[in-house]
Symmetry: C2
Subunit: 101 residues, 2 copies
């Protein structure tokens, strides 16, 4: 199992960001072919200091090939276009292989 | 459901780091009271550029109270002491509430 992780810095307008994320972006991501699970979590604190990030989303796939196909699909490109419009300067993305659960 | 997220920057000695993480740190975390799930994933790339991080670990709890109790427990303190010895300059931690799965 692999996952695409999207980590978002705290936006300037959290209310607007959250609404767009829930109402527009999440439905686009849910259409991705091969998506096995989507886990969205709201960052609300840290053991030390104040976190600079406010949201983490994880998109799970069977393998790297499925993940790449999803990103290259029409649905993947639609979500990428959307994220570049509302969070281009906030998002960091990683690919990760789940080792232990 | 809430989770403690530990995001690790790529260490200077990945082999040594991975061995310590798997053989020493993970067994300490698995002893935490109230831990519902541990998911460890190896970061291996990114859609754009090279990632600066190499590992993400997520520790799931029923709620923030359970998470705080785990961190304050003997087992939580043992894991914290360990992480400060092998990854103090690599780790970033967040608390997050799972919104959607």
């Amino acid at each position: 199992m692999v996952k695409l992780i999207a980590l978002y810095k705290t936006p300037e307008n959290p209310g607007e960001f959250d609404q767009h994320y829930a109402d527009v972006h999440t439905p686009l991501v849910k259409k991705w072919p091969g998506l096995r699970k989507l886990e969205v979590a709201k960052i609300y604190g840290a053991p030390i200091g104040e976190p600079k990030h406010s949201l983490i989303a994880e998109m799970y796939f069977d393998d790297q090939d499925s993940l790449q196909k999803a990103l290259a699909s029409t649905e993947g490109k639609a979500a990428a276009r959307d994220v570049m419009q509302f969070a281009a300067n906030l998002i960091t993305m990683f690919y990760a292989e789940v080792k232990e659960t």
